[in-house]
Amino acid sequence: MNRAIVIGGGLHGLSTALHLARMPGWQVTVLERRHVGRHSSGVNAGGVRRLGRDLREIALSMVAWEMWSNISALVGDDCGFQPGGQVKVAENAAELGKLEARAAQVRALGWTHEEVVDQAEVRRLLPAIAPHVVGALVCHGDGSADPMRTVMAFRRAAQEAGATIIEGSGVTAIERSGAGTLRVVTEEGTHEAERVANCAGAWATRIARMAGEEIPCGVKASMMIVTERLPHFCTPTVGPTGRALSFKQTVAGTVVIGGGHQGLNDPERETSTVLFGNLAHAARIAAELFPCVKGARIMRTWTGTEARTPDEIPVIGESRTMPGLFHSFGYSGHGFQLSPAAGAAVAELIARGATNLPVAPFTQRRFDA
């Protein structure tokens, strides 16, 4: 039996553990410093989005979408996935031009999931949209899921597949033993394993550093607003082209507003704080795109801490200083959708040393230049 330790009980750690535990011959243990889904995994906007992805991410995102489309088969729960579509609206002709160029670029790579629609079609998709919107880029089949429910489904599935999840266990060191295995040291004790996955999110660079590897990566704390329940007016998840916003109405009727507006971040204390000035900006954009939310009341606001790489795509690959350690972090605020596929890729890398899944662009070598 081979042993693997997964550091981090977020969605990527749990997905990696799930896929690996289902492979014959692997005994998997997840070490989570606090509890599963404590940071961005449990509190993100739940966007299941291929639309507008970095070109290097599209292939993996397509694989993930296939998995999302049948997520019950993977984890035994639908994770609250609602494929209501994702729409990026153009607020003027110049933006529409940009969206057309983008669609052409994606088509040239052989993908057909992104489609430009005209004003009439936008109105049909989004009857409540502001009249100045002239068109949009649409991805049918995208949508959103319930993040905490997703975390718990992956956790349950991983455990049923035989993985052990230890909460409240923070890693303090990683070292190589005389026998060549890796030793993961926690305050409670030491775990020995043939392979280790670093899925520690905003704290993953510290784990890399324990292995003697410097990977450039910062942190972010995207803020979210949720309003009181409103009558149903919007099915897809919506964002503008020239401004930062993500906007969706949940099944319950609440409106969740996000889009990468940043709060204060304190990785040392593992906290993040809402900055209302920045939130007000997001709220204003939301009200300009959907006039019907004007005057809606904010119920709650929150942030979640997440790693952000310089080019905002993740790091997936084996450590160059400590072979046997595999990184999977830096999803930069859009890793939720990728998690089923990324976990499968990392599990294959661990088990077989290679994967056919399209994760080659995410090697940390790209920062060498």
């Binding site: 509890h35 718990m152 909460e167 709220a283 939301a286 009200a287 939310v293 005057g295 119920m299 709650r300």
Partner: protein, 452 residues
């Protein structure tokens, strides 16, 4: 020095009084359209009933507090109808909203929070039916608006407010159908030695019960409410007496309340640590006897810092202001300080006895039926919360993330205490280890910014 006082109830008024005496003109923020607090809430403009009719035995205190309030308004930067919805302790800023729309930020060097309390409830089947309200809500309807919740209301709960509210309704012309006290007379009697620390208040309580019985209002003790029944609105209370016999009492409204819980969200946002108060079964912000918190510049007074009642709130408000003045090297009344310290010590003993006399019926919460609606904002049942406990909801915030309990309009202010009891029972952990819901801004729903 910029001093801000939040709240213009008994504590806030007496705090501002001491500040003004020392030449400080504080920013004085009150969420309601006028001061007085909940206990001395004033009728809307145009209402003509006098203090005696509205406040009964408390008329003298109410009149004195209102007089002080009016005298102080011009000497402070008085901002009524203003909600403090966020505190940024690092920058020492308050975010406020006036009249439901106008936003402002207010700087402070020192802050006295006198944020008061709200009713503590216990969900039973039918508690969300129209016609059901809290004891405090029923009392305010009568006091401030001159309207009753019903002609034949039932009063359920425990504590001094239970018999007082029932008697006020009886005097106002209603016919209370039942006063159901979940506490046994023996429990109250055991605590009576301690209640002597405030003899007048203690005697008043006994007098109210006697007066109710004299008016023919049935008052039952050590009884258990089972369910509020009715189609579309409350029409009866099903309950069980101490001898385990079931009864159904027809009624047209229900008021319920089991003591009060501090409204301490702002103290939380200001960074004040909390401790679990075994006696009151509440989490309360930490402060010393004078109202100083571990956060420099932040002071607490009144029920928002731990339930003490209106008399204590007045003393504590003045005391916190004196502490603030002293800490900032300003002249303060030393004689008054010594007097207040003595009074507050005595009152603390009385309060401890009161909590023993009228305990929160934790057992009823812990044994709550799975089907009972616990969180009315998000429609979460006790069973849902127990499932969340099994799924890893090892403390209240975790259980919130898993079940959505406390995520709605009230932010857990209503369902928080009973939810903690249910969770504590489900996990087999003491209440203290189950924790408390972390405060999050906005403390109450506010309109989206930029949309005013």
């Amino acid at each position: 020095m910029r001093v801000v006082v939040v709240g213009a109830g008994p504590a806030g008024v007496r705090a501002v009084e001491q500040l003004v005496r020392s030449g400080i003109e504080p920013v004085w923020i009150e969420e309601a359209p006028d001061g007085g607090g909940r206990i001395y809430q004033r009728p809307p403009a145009g209402f003509r009933r006098n203090h005696r009719a509205i406040y009964g035995a408390d008329a003298k205190r109410a009149r004195a507090l209102h007089a002080a309030l009016e005298a102080l308004k011009p000497r402070a930067d008085w901002r009524p109808d203003t909600l403090v919805w966020n505190i940024r302790p690092r920058e020492r800023l308050l975010d406020t909203q006036t009249a439901g729309r106008r936003r402002a930020t207010v700087e402070y060097d020192a802050l006295i929070l006198c944020t008061g309390a709200m009713d503590r409830i216990l969900p039973i089947p039918g508690w969300t039916l129209p016609g059901v309200t809290t004891l405090g809500g029923a009392q305010i309807a009568l006091k401030a608006q001159g309207v009753g919740i019903g002609a034949r209301p039932v009063f359920i709960g425990t504590g001094p407010l239970l018999v007082l509210a029932a008697l006020q309704y009886a005097k106002a012309g209603a016919t209370p159908a039942l006063v159901l006290d979940t506490t046994a007379f023996a429990t109250k009697a055991m605590a009576s030695a301690g209640l002597l620390w405030n003899l007048p208040t203690f005697v008043r309580g006994l007098r109210y019960t006697a007066a109710l019985r004299l008016r023919g209002v049935p008052v039952v003790e050590d009884a258990t409410p089972i369910a509020i029944e009715g189609e579309g609105r409350a029409t009866a209370l099903r309950w069980r007496d101490a001898g385990w016999r079931e009864h159904v009492t027809p009624c047209d409204a229900v008021a319920m309340g089991w003591g009060l819980k501090p409204e301490a969200q702002l103290a939380d946002l200001a960074g004040v640590p909390f401790r679990f108060d075994e006696l009151g079964h509440n989490w309360i912000p930490e402060k010393d006897g004078a109202g100083r918190t571990p956060v420099p510049g932040v002071y607490l007074a009144g029920d928002g810092a731990g339930i003490g009642g209106a008399e204590v709130a007045e003393l504590a408000g003045a005391r916190a202001a004196l502490a603030l003045l002293e800490d900032h090297g300003l002249p303060s009344d030393m004689v008054l300080r010594a007097h207040l310290d003595g009074r507050l010590r005595t009152e603390a003993r009385f309060r401890a006895a009161l909590e023993r006399a009228f305990p929160y019926p934790a057992d009823l919460a812990r044994r709550m039926d799975d089907a009972t609606l616990l969180c009315r904002c998000e429609a979460i049942t006790a069973g849902d919360l127990r499932s969340a406990a099994r799924a890893g909801g090892s403390e209240v915030n975790r259980a919130k993330a898993l079940s959505r309990i406390g995520m709605g309009r009230c932010q857990g202010r209503v369902c928080g205490p009973p939810a903690a009891e249910v969770l504590s029972e489900a996990l087999g952990l003491p209440l203290e280890q189950v924790g408390r819901l972390r405060g999050q801004p906005p403390v109450k729903p506010i309109p989206l910014p930029g949309s005013a």
